[in-house]
Protein backbone atom coordinates (compact mmCIF):
# COMPACT_ATOMS: atom_id res chain seq x y z
CA UNK A 1 0.00 0.00 0.00
CA UNK A 2 2.72 2.38 1.06
CA UNK A 3 4.64 1.64 -2.08
CA UNK A 4 1.72 2.40 -4.36
CA UNK A 5 1.08 5.64 -2.59
CA UNK A 6 4.61 6.91 -3.06
CA UNK A 7 4.61 5.81 -6.62
CA UNK A 8 1.49 7.72 -7.53
CA UNK A 9 2.90 10.74 -5.69
CA UNK A 10 5.89 10.48 -7.91
CA UNK A 11 3.69 10.41 -10.96
CA UNK A 12 1.86 13.55 -10.06
CA UNK A 13 5.06 15.44 -9.37
CA UNK A 14 6.36 14.31 -12.74
CA UNK A 15 3.14 15.43 -14.30
CA UNK A 16 3.38 18.83 -12.79
CA UNK A 17 6.93 19.27 -13.98
CA UNK A 18 6.25 20.49 -17.51
CA UNK A 19 8.72 19.43 -20.20
CA UNK A 20 10.57 22.26 -21.90
CA UNK A 21 8.39 22.57 -24.98
CA UNK A 22 9.89 24.72 -27.66
CA UNK A 23 7.66 27.06 -29.57
CA UNK A 24 10.42 29.39 -30.72
CA UNK A 25 10.92 27.87 -34.16
CA UNK A 26 7.16 27.56 -34.58
CA UNK A 27 6.82 31.26 -33.79
CA UNK A 28 9.45 32.00 -36.39
CA UNK A 29 7.72 29.77 -38.95
CA UNK A 30 4.36 31.36 -38.24
CA UNK A 31 5.63 34.93 -38.37
CA UNK A 32 4.44 37.16 -41.17
CA UNK A 33 7.95 37.85 -42.36
CA UNK A 34 8.90 34.18 -42.60
CA UNK A 35 5.68 33.10 -44.28
CA UNK A 36 6.10 35.66 -47.02
CA UNK A 37 9.81 35.07 -47.63
CA UNK A 38 11.58 31.81 -46.84
CA UNK A 39 8.37 30.00 -45.98
CA UNK A 40 6.87 30.82 -49.34
CA UNK A 41 10.10 30.04 -51.18
CA UNK A 42 10.46 26.60 -49.65
CA UNK A 43 7.00 25.55 -50.81
CA UNK A 44 7.96 25.84 -54.47
CA UNK A 45 10.32 23.47 -56.20
CA UNK A 46 12.39 26.32 -57.59
CA UNK A 47 12.71 27.89 -54.16
CA UNK A 48 13.74 24.62 -52.55
CA UNK A 49 16.42 23.94 -55.15
CA UNK A 50 17.72 27.51 -54.89
CA UNK A 51 17.89 27.34 -51.09
CA UNK A 52 19.54 23.95 -51.09
CA UNK A 53 21.96 24.30 -53.96
CA UNK A 54 22.64 28.03 -54.17
CA UNK A 55 25.32 28.59 -51.58
CA UNK A 56 27.05 25.18 -51.92
CA UNK A 57 27.42 25.47 -55.68
CA UNK A 58 28.62 29.06 -55.52
CA UNK A 59 31.15 28.11 -52.84
CA UNK A 60 32.43 25.08 -54.70
CA UNK A 61 32.76 26.87 -58.01
CA UNK A 62 34.17 30.10 -56.62
CA UNK A 63 36.48 28.84 -53.91
CA UNK A 64 37.35 25.25 -54.75
CA UNK A 65 37.70 25.71 -58.49
CA UNK A 66 38.23 29.49 -58.70
CA UNK A 67 41.73 29.59 -57.21
CA UNK A 68 42.98 26.74 -59.38
CA UNK A 69 41.42 28.30 -62.44
CA UNK A 70 43.05 31.65 -61.69
CA UNK A 71 46.37 29.96 -61.08
CA UNK A 72 46.07 28.19 -64.43
CA UNK A 73 45.19 31.45 -66.16
CA UNK A 74 48.09 33.36 -64.67
CA UNK A 75 50.54 30.59 -65.49
CA UNK A 76 50.09 31.49 -69.17
CA UNK A 77 50.71 35.21 -68.71
CA UNK A 78 53.99 36.95 -69.31
CA UNK A 79 53.46 39.37 -66.49
CA UNK A 80 51.50 39.41 -63.22
CA UNK A 81 50.51 41.36 -61.15
CA UNK A 82 50.21 43.79 -64.06
CA UNK A 83 51.61 47.18 -63.19
CA UNK A 84 50.16 50.30 -64.80
CA UNK A 85 51.78 50.78 -68.20
CA UNK A 86 52.88 47.13 -68.45
CA UNK A 87 51.36 44.62 -70.82
CA UNK A 88 50.63 40.99 -70.12
CA UNK A 89 50.46 38.54 -72.98
CA UNK A 90 49.72 34.85 -73.43
CA UNK A 91 52.89 32.78 -73.30
CA UNK A 92 54.13 29.24 -72.76
CA UNK A 93 57.49 30.50 -71.59
CA UNK A 94 56.72 29.86 -67.91
CA UNK A 95 56.31 26.16 -68.61
CA UNK A 96 59.20 25.90 -71.03
CA UNK A 97 61.64 27.38 -68.54
CA UNK A 98 60.92 24.53 -66.15
CA UNK A 99 62.30 21.93 -68.50
CA UNK A 100 65.34 23.99 -69.42
CA UNK A 101 66.85 24.54 -66.00
CA UNK A 102 67.99 21.69 -63.72
CA UNK A 103 67.62 23.99 -60.71
CA UNK A 104 63.91 23.94 -61.53
CA UNK A 105 63.17 20.36 -62.47
CA UNK A 106 65.60 18.66 -60.06
CA UNK A 107 63.68 19.85 -56.98
CA UNK A 108 60.49 18.36 -58.41
CA UNK A 109 62.18 15.01 -58.97
CA UNK A 110 63.62 15.25 -55.47
CA UNK A 111 60.15 16.05 -54.11
CA UNK A 112 58.76 12.93 -55.75
CA UNK A 113 61.61 10.78 -54.46
CA UNK A 114 61.15 12.09 -50.92
CA UNK A 115 57.38 11.73 -51.03
CA UNK A 116 57.55 8.19 -52.45
CA UNK A 117 60.17 7.09 -49.96
CA UNK A 118 58.28 8.65 -47.06
CA UNK A 119 55.08 6.95 -48.18
CA UNK A 120 56.74 3.55 -48.40
CA UNK A 121 58.54 3.80 -45.08
CA UNK A 122 55.42 5.11 -43.41
CA UNK A 123 53.34 2.25 -44.80
CA UNK A 124 55.80 -0.39 -43.60
CA UNK A 125 56.17 1.16 -40.15
CA UNK A 126 52.53 2.04 -39.52
CA UNK A 127 50.95 -1.15 -40.89
CA UNK A 128 51.93 -3.37 -37.96
CA UNK A 129 50.83 -0.67 -35.54
CA UNK A 130 47.44 -0.32 -37.22
CA UNK A 131 47.10 -4.10 -37.29
CA UNK A 132 47.99 -4.34 -33.64
CA UNK A 133 45.38 -1.79 -32.60
CA UNK A 134 42.67 -3.16 -34.90
CA UNK A 135 43.10 -6.88 -34.29
CA UNK A 136 45.31 -7.67 -31.30
CA UNK A 137 44.01 -5.13 -28.81
CA UNK A 138 40.70 -6.05 -27.22
CA UNK A 139 37.79 -3.96 -28.61
CA UNK A 140 37.34 -2.14 -25.33
CA UNK A 141 40.98 -1.09 -25.27
CA UNK A 142 41.10 0.13 -28.86
CA UNK A 143 40.01 3.73 -28.32
CA UNK A 144 42.74 4.21 -25.74
CA UNK A 145 45.39 2.55 -27.90
CA UNK A 146 44.42 4.82 -30.80
CA UNK A 147 44.21 7.92 -28.65
CA UNK A 148 47.77 7.51 -27.41
CA UNK A 149 48.94 7.49 -31.03
CA UNK A 150 46.92 10.61 -31.81
CA UNK A 151 48.50 12.78 -29.12
CA UNK A 152 51.39 14.02 -31.32
CA UNK A 153 48.89 14.70 -34.08
CA UNK A 154 47.32 17.45 -32.00
CA UNK A 155 50.69 19.11 -31.53
CA UNK A 156 50.64 20.58 -35.00
CA UNK A 157 53.13 20.82 -37.83
CA UNK A 158 55.52 23.44 -36.47
CA UNK A 159 55.77 22.06 -32.97
CA UNK A 160 56.29 18.52 -34.21
CA UNK A 161 59.00 19.69 -36.58
CA UNK A 162 60.59 21.75 -33.83
CA UNK A 163 60.64 18.74 -31.52
CA UNK A 164 62.57 16.74 -34.13
CA UNK A 165 65.30 19.36 -33.88
CA UNK A 166 65.60 18.51 -30.16
CA UNK A 167 66.47 14.99 -31.18
CA UNK A 168 68.78 15.61 -34.11
CA UNK A 169 70.69 18.82 -33.46
CA UNK A 170 74.41 18.80 -32.74
CA UNK A 171 73.70 19.10 -29.06
CA UNK A 172 70.49 17.16 -29.33
CA UNK A 173 69.56 13.96 -27.57
CA UNK A 174 71.08 11.51 -30.05
CA UNK A 175 74.46 13.18 -30.35
CA UNK A 176 74.73 13.69 -26.61
CA UNK A 177 73.82 10.10 -25.97
CA UNK A 178 76.31 8.77 -28.50
CA UNK A 179 79.03 10.98 -27.06
CA UNK A 180 78.29 9.95 -23.50
CA UNK A 181 78.60 6.28 -24.26
CA UNK A 182 81.80 7.04 -26.10
CA UNK A 183 80.87 6.11 -29.64
CA UNK A 184 81.71 9.49 -31.10
CA UNK A 185 83.99 12.37 -30.20
CA UNK A 186 82.40 15.14 -32.17
CA UNK A 187 78.69 15.37 -33.01
CA UNK A 188 77.42 13.91 -36.28
CA UNK A 189 75.76 16.75 -38.20
CA UNK A 190 72.27 15.51 -38.82
CA UNK A 191 70.20 18.65 -39.17
CA UNK A 192 69.69 20.26 -42.57
CA UNK A 193 70.52 17.02 -44.38
CA UNK A 194 68.36 14.65 -46.41
CA UNK A 195 68.31 12.46 -43.33
CA UNK A 196 66.80 15.09 -41.02
CA UNK A 197 64.31 16.07 -43.69
CA UNK A 198 63.22 12.48 -44.30
CA UNK A 199 63.07 11.80 -40.58
CA UNK A 200 61.00 14.94 -40.05
CA UNK A 201 58.64 14.16 -42.91
CA UNK A 202 58.00 10.66 -41.64
CA UNK A 203 57.50 11.94 -38.12
CA UNK A 204 55.15 14.62 -39.37
CA UNK A 205 53.06 12.48 -41.64
CA UNK A 206 52.96 8.88 -40.38
CA UNK A 207 49.67 9.41 -38.58
CA UNK A 208 47.87 10.18 -41.83
CA UNK A 209 48.56 6.55 -42.69
CA UNK A 210 47.26 5.19 -39.40
CA UNK A 211 43.56 6.00 -39.59
CA UNK A 212 42.81 4.67 -43.13
CA UNK A 213 44.77 1.50 -42.38
CA UNK A 214 43.14 1.05 -39.01
CA UNK A 215 39.60 1.40 -40.28
CA UNK A 216 40.28 -0.98 -43.19
CA UNK A 217 41.88 -3.65 -41.01
CA UNK A 218 39.26 -3.32 -38.31
CA UNK A 219 36.56 -4.17 -40.87
CA UNK A 220 38.13 -7.55 -41.64
CA UNK A 221 36.03 -10.07 -39.72
CA UNK A 222 38.14 -11.88 -37.14
CA UNK A 223 36.15 -15.02 -37.91
CA UNK A 224 37.82 -15.03 -41.32
CA UNK A 225 41.24 -15.21 -39.68
CA UNK A 226 40.12 -17.93 -37.30
CA UNK A 227 38.63 -19.87 -40.19
CA UNK A 228 41.82 -19.71 -42.20
CA UNK A 229 43.90 -20.64 -39.17
CA UNK A 230 41.56 -23.56 -38.71
CA UNK A 231 42.23 -24.58 -42.30
CA UNK A 232 45.93 -24.68 -41.50
CA UNK A 233 47.11 -21.30 -42.73
CA UNK A 234 50.15 -20.02 -40.84
CA UNK A 235 50.52 -16.41 -39.77
CA UNK A 236 52.39 -15.46 -42.95
CA UNK A 237 49.89 -17.11 -45.27
CA UNK A 238 47.03 -15.50 -43.40
CA UNK A 239 48.66 -12.13 -43.77
CA UNK A 240 49.43 -12.55 -47.47
CA UNK A 241 46.19 -14.21 -48.54
CA UNK A 242 43.60 -12.52 -46.34
CA UNK A 243 44.68 -9.48 -44.38
CA UNK A 244 46.70 -7.80 -47.09
CA UNK A 245 44.10 -8.07 -49.91
CA UNK A 246 41.25 -7.11 -47.61
CA UNK A 247 43.03 -4.04 -46.28
CA UNK A 248 43.96 -2.89 -49.76
CA UNK A 249 41.48 0.00 -49.71
CA UNK A 250 43.06 1.36 -46.56
CA UNK A 251 46.57 0.97 -48.00
CA UNK A 252 45.59 2.76 -51.19
CA UNK A 253 43.86 5.69 -49.55
CA UNK A 254 46.48 5.98 -46.80
CA UNK A 255 49.31 6.03 -49.34
CA UNK A 256 47.54 8.55 -51.57
CA UNK A 257 46.86 10.79 -48.57
CA UNK A 258 50.42 10.60 -47.25
CA UNK A 259 51.91 11.13 -50.71
CA UNK A 260 49.79 14.18 -51.47
CA UNK A 261 50.36 15.70 -48.04
CA UNK A 262 54.08 15.05 -48.22
CA UNK A 263 54.42 16.71 -51.64
CA UNK A 264 52.87 19.87 -50.25
CA UNK A 265 54.82 20.14 -47.00
CA UNK A 266 56.40 23.54 -46.58
CA UNK A 267 57.25 24.48 -42.99
CA UNK A 268 59.10 21.26 -42.21
CA UNK A 269 61.10 21.75 -45.37
CA UNK A 270 62.12 25.25 -44.33
CA UNK A 271 63.09 24.16 -40.82
CA UNK A 272 64.77 20.81 -41.43
CA UNK A 273 66.02 21.04 -45.00
CA UNK A 274 69.38 22.33 -46.10
CA UNK A 275 71.05 23.56 -49.25
CA UNK A 276 71.23 20.00 -50.62
CA UNK A 277 67.59 19.27 -50.07
CA UNK A 278 65.77 21.98 -51.98
CA UNK A 279 62.35 20.55 -52.73
CA UNK A 280 59.83 21.89 -55.18
CA UNK A 281 57.63 23.88 -52.76
CA UNK A 282 60.69 25.93 -51.88
CA UNK A 283 61.32 26.57 -55.58
CA UNK A 284 57.74 27.65 -56.11
CA UNK A 285 57.75 29.81 -53.02
CA UNK A 286 60.81 31.71 -54.25
CA UNK A 287 58.75 33.15 -57.10
CA UNK A 288 56.26 34.66 -54.70
CA UNK A 289 58.63 36.01 -52.09
CA UNK A 290 62.08 37.35 -52.25
CA UNK A 291 63.99 38.78 -55.16
CA UNK A 292 62.51 37.02 -58.18
CA UNK A 293 58.89 38.11 -57.75
CA UNK A 294 57.57 36.29 -60.81
CA UNK A 295 54.11 34.99 -60.08
CA UNK A 296 53.36 33.53 -63.52
CA UNK A 297 56.39 31.24 -63.31
CA UNK A 298 55.39 30.24 -59.78
CA UNK A 299 51.86 29.58 -60.95
CA UNK A 300 53.10 27.47 -63.85
CA UNK A 301 55.34 25.46 -61.54
CA UNK A 302 52.50 24.99 -59.07
CA UNK A 303 50.33 23.70 -61.94
CA UNK A 304 53.08 21.28 -62.95
CA UNK A 305 53.34 20.02 -59.40
CA UNK A 306 49.59 19.73 -58.92
CA UNK A 307 49.01 17.79 -62.14
CA UNK A 308 51.99 15.48 -61.71
CA UNK A 309 51.12 14.80 -58.08
CA UNK A 310 47.45 14.14 -58.81
CA UNK A 311 48.31 11.97 -61.82
CA UNK A 312 50.84 9.99 -59.77
CA UNK A 313 48.37 9.52 -56.91
CA UNK A 314 45.55 8.74 -59.34
CA UNK A 315 47.64 6.18 -61.23
CA UNK A 316 48.64 4.58 -57.97
CA UNK A 317 45.02 4.35 -56.82
CA UNK A 318 44.01 2.91 -60.21
CA UNK A 319 46.82 0.38 -60.47
CA UNK A 320 46.94 -0.86 -56.90
CA UNK A 321 43.31 -0.26 -56.05
CA UNK A 322 42.32 -1.99 -59.27
CA UNK A 323 39.02 -0.21 -59.35
CA UNK A 324 37.80 3.34 -59.35
CA UNK A 325 38.53 4.38 -55.80
CA UNK A 326 38.36 7.70 -54.11
CA UNK A 327 40.96 8.77 -51.64
CA UNK A 328 38.28 8.89 -48.97
Amino acid sequence: MVETATRSDLNTTQDREMPRYSTLIAKMANSFLYRHTLGAAVETRMGRVALLAGLPLIWIVALNLGPIYQMLKISFLSNYPVMPGDKSEFTLENYIVFFQEPIFFLPLIRSFVFATATTMVTLIVVYPVAYYVAKVVRPSGRPRALLLLLVPFWAGEIIRTFSVIMLLSNRGAINVLLRDIGLIDRPIPMLYTPFSLGFGLIYLICLYMLLPLYSAIEKIPSSLLDASADLGAGPLTRFRRIILPLSKDGIVSGCALVFLTCIGVFATLMLLGGPNTVLFPETISSFFHGASNKWPVGAAFAMIMLTTALIAAGLFVRLVGGKKGSTF
Binding site: A29, G39, V42, I68, Y132, W154, L260, I263, L310
Partner: protein
Protein backbone atom coordinates in the same frame (compact mmCIF):
# COMPACT_ATOMS: atom_id res chain seq x y z
CA UNK B 1 54.24 -25.30 -25.49
CA UNK B 2 52.48 -25.18 -28.86
CA UNK B 3 51.04 -21.81 -27.94
CA UNK B 4 54.49 -20.30 -27.98
CA UNK B 5 54.60 -20.15 -31.76
CA UNK B 6 51.27 -18.40 -32.50
CA UNK B 7 51.97 -16.01 -29.63
CA UNK B 8 55.24 -14.86 -31.09
CA UNK B 9 53.67 -12.47 -33.68
CA UNK B 10 51.42 -11.17 -30.99
CA UNK B 11 54.25 -10.33 -28.65
CA UNK B 12 56.26 -8.83 -31.48
CA UNK B 13 53.36 -6.64 -32.53
CA UNK B 14 52.82 -5.47 -28.97
CA UNK B 15 56.48 -4.57 -28.62
CA UNK B 16 56.41 -2.80 -31.97
CA UNK B 17 53.39 -0.75 -30.96
CA UNK B 18 55.06 0.48 -27.80
CA UNK B 19 58.29 1.17 -29.66
CA UNK B 20 56.35 3.21 -32.20
CA UNK B 21 54.57 5.11 -29.45
CA UNK B 22 57.92 5.78 -27.84
CA UNK B 23 59.19 7.09 -31.17
CA UNK B 24 56.14 9.34 -31.50
CA UNK B 25 56.37 10.77 -28.03
CA UNK B 26 60.14 10.97 -27.57
CA UNK B 27 60.81 14.21 -29.51
CA UNK B 28 57.87 15.97 -27.89
CA UNK B 29 58.97 14.81 -24.44
CA UNK B 30 62.50 16.03 -25.05
CA UNK B 31 61.13 19.34 -26.21
CA UNK B 32 59.04 19.69 -23.08
CA UNK B 33 61.91 18.64 -20.84
CA UNK B 34 64.21 21.29 -22.30
CA UNK B 35 61.69 24.00 -21.52
CA UNK B 36 62.69 23.66 -17.87
CA UNK B 37 66.40 24.06 -18.55
CA UNK B 38 68.08 26.75 -16.52
CA UNK B 39 70.41 28.02 -19.24
CA UNK B 40 70.28 30.17 -22.32
CA UNK B 41 70.95 27.45 -24.88
CA UNK B 42 69.00 24.38 -25.89
CA UNK B 43 71.17 21.33 -25.31
CA UNK B 44 71.59 18.24 -23.24
CA UNK B 45 72.14 17.49 -20.43
CA UNK B 46 69.45 19.58 -18.86
CA UNK B 47 71.15 20.30 -15.55
CA UNK B 48 69.31 22.71 -13.27
CA UNK B 49 65.59 23.19 -13.60
CA UNK B 50 63.67 26.43 -13.68
CA UNK B 51 60.24 27.80 -14.49
CA UNK B 52 61.65 31.14 -15.59
CA UNK B 53 61.01 30.48 -19.26
CA UNK B 54 57.33 29.97 -18.62
CA UNK B 55 57.14 33.15 -16.62
CA UNK B 56 58.80 34.91 -19.51
CA UNK B 57 56.45 33.40 -22.08
CA UNK B 58 53.23 34.23 -20.30
CA UNK B 59 54.37 37.82 -19.97
CA UNK B 60 55.36 37.97 -23.61
CA UNK B 61 52.91 40.35 -25.27
CA UNK B 62 53.77 39.06 -28.73
CA UNK B 63 52.91 35.53 -27.69
CA UNK B 64 49.62 36.48 -26.09
CA UNK B 65 48.61 38.51 -29.09
CA UNK B 66 49.46 35.63 -31.42
CA UNK B 67 47.36 33.32 -29.23
CA UNK B 68 44.34 35.56 -29.38
CA UNK B 69 44.79 36.13 -33.10
CA UNK B 70 45.00 32.41 -33.78
CA UNK B 71 41.95 31.69 -31.64
CA UNK B 72 39.95 34.42 -33.38
CA UNK B 73 40.85 33.10 -36.83
CA UNK B 74 40.09 29.53 -35.76
CA UNK B 75 36.69 30.51 -34.38
CA UNK B 76 35.67 32.49 -37.46
CA UNK B 77 36.87 29.93 -40.01
CA UNK B 78 35.38 27.03 -38.04
CA UNK B 79 31.99 28.69 -37.84
CA UNK B 80 31.99 29.47 -41.55
CA UNK B 81 33.26 26.01 -42.50
CA UNK B 82 30.62 24.29 -40.37
CA UNK B 83 27.77 26.18 -41.98
CA UNK B 84 29.06 25.76 -45.53
CA UNK B 85 30.15 22.16 -45.05
CA UNK B 86 26.79 21.14 -43.59
CA UNK B 87 25.01 22.92 -46.41
CA UNK B 88 27.08 21.09 -49.03
CA UNK B 89 26.44 17.77 -47.29
CA UNK B 90 22.70 18.45 -47.29
CA UNK B 91 22.89 19.10 -51.03
CA UNK B 92 24.79 15.86 -51.65
CA UNK B 93 22.28 13.67 -49.79
CA UNK B 94 19.22 15.46 -51.17
CA UNK B 95 16.90 13.49 -53.39
CA UNK B 96 16.49 14.38 -57.01
CA UNK B 97 19.88 16.10 -57.24
CA UNK B 98 22.01 14.78 -60.09
CA UNK B 99 25.82 14.78 -60.27
CA UNK B 100 26.12 14.00 -56.57
CA UNK B 101 29.41 12.15 -57.11
CA UNK B 102 30.84 15.11 -59.00
CA UNK B 103 29.68 17.58 -56.37
CA UNK B 104 31.23 15.46 -53.65
CA UNK B 105 34.53 15.14 -55.52
CA UNK B 106 34.71 18.90 -56.07
CA UNK B 107 33.66 19.63 -52.50
CA UNK B 108 36.51 17.60 -50.99
CA UNK B 109 39.06 18.79 -53.56
CA UNK B 110 40.84 21.18 -51.14
CA UNK B 111 41.59 18.25 -48.85
CA UNK B 112 43.57 16.40 -51.53
CA UNK B 113 45.29 19.37 -53.14
CA UNK B 114 48.78 19.57 -51.58
CA UNK B 115 48.92 22.34 -48.96
CA UNK B 116 51.56 24.33 -50.79
CA UNK B 117 49.52 24.45 -54.02
CA UNK B 118 46.39 25.33 -52.14
CA UNK B 119 48.16 28.23 -50.47
CA UNK B 120 49.65 29.53 -53.73
CA UNK B 121 46.38 29.30 -55.64
CA UNK B 122 44.52 31.12 -52.86
CA UNK B 123 47.19 33.80 -52.83
CA UNK B 124 46.70 34.30 -56.56
CA UNK B 125 42.94 34.13 -56.20
CA UNK B 126 42.64 36.87 -53.57
CA UNK B 127 44.87 39.07 -55.66
CA UNK B 128 42.66 38.60 -58.73
CA UNK B 129 39.61 39.67 -56.73
CA UNK B 130 41.56 42.57 -55.22
CA UNK B 131 41.31 41.23 -51.70
CA UNK B 132 44.19 42.30 -49.46
CA UNK B 133 46.31 39.78 -47.58
CA UNK B 134 45.67 39.67 -43.87
CA UNK B 135 43.01 38.47 -41.46
CA UNK B 136 40.19 38.14 -43.98
CA UNK B 137 42.33 36.22 -46.43
CA UNK B 138 43.60 33.86 -43.72
CA UNK B 139 40.07 33.14 -42.53
CA UNK B 140 38.98 32.49 -46.10
CA UNK B 141 41.94 30.17 -46.69
CA UNK B 142 41.34 28.23 -43.48
CA UNK B 143 37.63 27.93 -44.25
CA UNK B 144 38.34 26.55 -47.73
CA UNK B 145 40.68 24.01 -46.16
CA UNK B 146 38.25 23.02 -43.37
CA UNK B 147 35.04 22.65 -45.38
CA UNK B 148 35.88 19.19 -46.85
CA UNK B 149 36.35 17.70 -43.39
CA UNK B 150 32.99 19.04 -42.24
CA UNK B 151 31.40 17.69 -45.44
CA UNK B 152 32.78 14.20 -44.86
CA UNK B 153 31.79 14.09 -41.19
CA UNK B 154 28.31 15.51 -41.80
CA UNK B 155 27.74 13.14 -44.74
CA UNK B 156 28.67 10.09 -42.70
CA UNK B 157 26.17 11.07 -40.05
CA UNK B 158 23.45 12.08 -42.55
CA UNK B 159 23.71 8.75 -44.34
CA UNK B 160 22.99 6.93 -41.10
CA UNK B 161 19.92 9.04 -40.43
CA UNK B 162 16.61 7.21 -40.90
CA UNK B 163 14.99 8.84 -43.91
CA UNK B 164 11.60 8.69 -42.25
CA UNK B 165 12.61 11.17 -39.57
CA UNK B 166 12.42 14.16 -41.87
CA UNK B 167 9.21 12.76 -43.38
CA UNK B 168 7.76 12.50 -39.87
CA UNK B 169 8.61 16.13 -39.16
CA UNK B 170 7.07 17.19 -42.48
CA UNK B 171 4.02 15.10 -41.70
CA UNK B 172 3.63 16.88 -38.36
CA UNK B 173 3.56 20.29 -39.99
CA UNK B 174 7.18 21.31 -40.54
CA UNK B 175 8.32 22.76 -43.85
CA UNK B 176 11.78 21.83 -45.13
CA UNK B 177 13.54 24.59 -43.23
CA UNK B 178 11.79 23.88 -39.94
CA UNK B 179 12.40 20.14 -40.39
CA UNK B 180 16.10 20.85 -40.90
CA UNK B 181 16.33 23.08 -37.83
CA UNK B 182 14.31 20.86 -35.54
CA UNK B 183 15.25 17.36 -36.65
CA UNK B 184 18.24 17.14 -38.98
CA UNK B 185 20.42 19.66 -37.19
CA UNK B 186 20.01 18.12 -33.72
CA UNK B 187 20.70 14.72 -35.27
CA UNK B 188 23.86 16.07 -36.89
CA UNK B 189 25.01 17.88 -33.76
CA UNK B 190 27.51 15.31 -32.42
CA UNK B 191 29.17 14.91 -35.81
CA UNK B 192 29.28 18.66 -36.32
CA UNK B 193 30.76 19.15 -32.89
CA UNK B 194 33.53 16.69 -33.70
CA UNK B 195 34.03 18.36 -37.05
CA UNK B 196 34.26 21.80 -35.45
CA UNK B 197 36.88 20.66 -32.97
CA UNK B 198 38.87 19.22 -35.83
CA UNK B 199 38.57 22.46 -37.80
CA UNK B 200 39.78 24.50 -34.83
CA UNK B 201 42.90 22.33 -34.54
CA UNK B 202 43.39 22.46 -38.30
CA UNK B 203 43.24 26.24 -38.27
CA UNK B 204 45.48 26.70 -35.23
CA UNK B 205 48.09 24.34 -36.71
CA UNK B 206 48.06 25.76 -40.21
CA UNK B 207 51.29 27.29 -41.35
CA UNK B 208 51.55 27.28 -45.12
CA UNK B 209 48.25 29.04 -45.92
CA UNK B 210 48.81 31.63 -43.23
CA UNK B 211 52.35 32.15 -44.48
CA UNK B 212 51.16 33.06 -47.97
CA UNK B 213 47.91 34.82 -47.07
CA UNK B 214 48.89 36.61 -43.89
CA UNK B 215 49.85 40.18 -43.31
CA UNK B 216 52.10 41.50 -40.57
CA UNK B 217 50.29 40.03 -37.59
CA UNK B 218 51.66 36.63 -36.66
CA UNK B 219 49.56 33.63 -35.76
CA UNK B 220 50.95 31.11 -33.28
CA UNK B 221 52.67 28.82 -35.81
CA UNK B 222 54.08 31.86 -37.60
CA UNK B 223 55.48 33.21 -34.35
CA UNK B 224 57.07 29.91 -33.36
CA UNK B 225 58.41 29.44 -36.88
CA UNK B 226 60.00 32.88 -36.83
CA UNK B 227 61.53 32.26 -33.41
CA UNK B 228 62.93 28.88 -34.44
CA UNK B 229 64.52 30.40 -37.52
CA UNK B 230 65.88 33.21 -35.38
CA UNK B 231 67.76 30.88 -33.05
CA UNK B 232 67.18 28.32 -30.36
CA UNK B 233 66.22 29.26 -26.84
CA UNK B 234 64.40 27.31 -24.11
CA UNK B 235 61.82 30.05 -24.33
CA UNK B 236 60.58 28.53 -27.59
CA UNK B 237 60.35 25.18 -25.83
CA UNK B 238 58.24 26.69 -23.10
CA UNK B 239 56.01 28.38 -25.65
CA UNK B 240 55.62 25.23 -27.72
CA UNK B 241 54.94 23.20 -24.59
CA UNK B 242 52.16 25.52 -23.54
CA UNK B 243 50.56 25.34 -26.98
CA UNK B 244 51.01 21.57 -27.09
CA UNK B 245 49.37 21.07 -23.71
CA UNK B 246 46.41 23.25 -24.63
CA UNK B 247 45.79 21.78 -28.09
CA UNK B 248 46.26 18.23 -26.86
CA UNK B 249 43.80 18.63 -24.01
CA UNK B 250 41.43 20.26 -26.47
CA UNK B 251 41.84 17.32 -28.85
CA UNK B 252 41.36 14.79 -26.05
CA UNK B 253 38.26 16.61 -24.87
CA UNK B 254 36.82 16.68 -28.39
CA UNK B 255 37.53 12.99 -28.80
CA UNK B 256 35.87 12.27 -25.46
CA UNK B 257 32.76 14.30 -26.30
CA UNK B 258 32.26 12.81 -29.76
CA UNK B 259 32.82 9.30 -28.44
CA UNK B 260 30.24 9.82 -25.74
CA UNK B 261 27.79 11.29 -28.22
CA UNK B 262 28.30 8.36 -30.58
CA UNK B 263 27.53 5.74 -27.94
CA UNK B 264 24.29 7.45 -26.93
Amino acid sequence: MRNLVPDFPRAALTAFYWAFLFYLLLPLTLMMALSFKDANFVSFPIGNLTLDWYAKVIQDKQFLEACLYSIGIAAASTLAATIIGTWIAMLIVAEGIRWQVVIFALAVLPAVVPGMISAISLRIFISTIDMPTGTGAIILGHTVHSVPFVVVMALTRLRSMPKNMVDAARDLGADNIVAFLRVTLPYLAPALFGGMMFCVLLSIDDFVRTFFLGGYRATLPMLIFAKVQGGMSPEINAMATLVLVVTTSFGLYAEFITRRARTR
